[in-house]
């Protein structure tokens, strides 16, 4: 029986954001936008969806008088990402057999 792929993560941009954040402690919104080549508007929407799912934490603060948005993965997000990768492995294994 295949595990269903988490619909929150099974989206190219949301998966890219989660994959960027998985190996680091936190990243600025501008860094994520640059690395994913996404538009600010689209990225904002996807980041909000990840936040609503409890997968990432979004911190809005000021740095040198400029607004700064910082994203970091939550333990729940980490768990969901782990589950997603396990499900992917199942699909890939099935494809080989």
């Amino acid at each position: 029986m295949f595990k269903e792929l988490d619909p929150i993560l099974h989206s190219q941009l949301r998966l890219a954001v989660m994959s960027l954040l998985i190996g680091i402690k936190e990243a600025e919104f501008t860094f994520i936008r640059e690395k994913t080549n996404a538009t600010a508007g689209n990225l904002s929407v996807q980041v909000q969806k990840l936040k609503d799912a409890g997968y990432i934490e979004v911190i809005k603060q000021f740095k040198e008088n400029y607004p700064q948005t910082i994203c970091k993965i939550t333990p729940r997000g980490l768990e969901a990402f782990d589950e997603y990768v396990k499900a992917l492995q199942q699909y890939l294994q099935a494809g080989k057999e």
Binding site: Q12, I24, K25, T36
Partner: protein
């Protein structure tokens, strides 16, 4: 990157791999601190030896007042780097914690030496031990062998140094700094520039 919902598991895997690769080598240029403190302490050790042993200058220890200058330069550089930094990695955070701890240990040792008035004669044994801990752990975290081996050699130099007087401990201290800060610091800078070039 468009937000298409239909894509294969292979494509998912490729996105994950691609994004992880983009953050894998984002370690900052840490060589600055090794080179700053390396050359500063090396210069102080050698010049104290020359002034004390060869020139017999009574105020040879004045050169050590340069240490707070190193602290101020480090602080200014660190705060400028923090402004530029757009991500914080676990590696950077662990290194910061390690060196803050080592920094406090150095400060405590300086106070101990000043208060006791005697322990400074063997002070370098303990300073070299702190260089050893800081550089070997950093070498392991950064997976950078010159730092790791430099740090490990310092453990041996710390043991050897206890048999020598303060004058010769200065030279052993200079050797320890050369092996664990200066040489790995220059190699770390080369590695950083090579990585930046390959990512450009």
């Amino acid at each position: 990157m468009e937000n298409q919902e239909r894509f294969s598991p292979e494509e998912s895997l490729s996105i994950i791999r691609n994004m992880i690769d983009k953050t894998k080598d984002t370690v900052a240029d840490d060589s600055f601190y090794f080179l700053l403190w390396g050359w500063l302490v090396f210069g102080c050790c050698v010049s104290t030896f020359v002034m004390k042993v060869w020139l017999q200058f009574p105020y040879h220890y004045y050169v050590w007042f340069l240490m707070p200058v190193g602290g101020i330069v480090s602080w200014i550089y660190g705060s400028r780097q923090a402004k530029k930094q757009r991500i914080k990695s676990y590696v950077e955070e662990s290194l910061d914690s390690l060196w803050i701890g080592v920094g406090f240990a150095f400060f405590a040792l300086v106070l101990i030496n000043m208060i006791s008035g005697e322990t400074w004669q063997k002070a370098f044994t303990y300073y070299i031990l702190l260089y050893a801990i800081g550089t070997s752990v950093t070498g392991r975290i950064l997976r950078f062998k010159p730092l790791l081996y430099g740090g490990l050699i310092n453990f041996i130099l710390a043991v050897v140094s206890i048999k020598y007087s303060y004058d010769y401990q200065l030279l052993i201290g200079a050797l320890a700094i050369l092996i664990s800060y200066i040489i790995p610091g220059h190699l770390l800078r080369i590695r950083y520039h090579q990585k930046r070039k390959s990512h450009a």
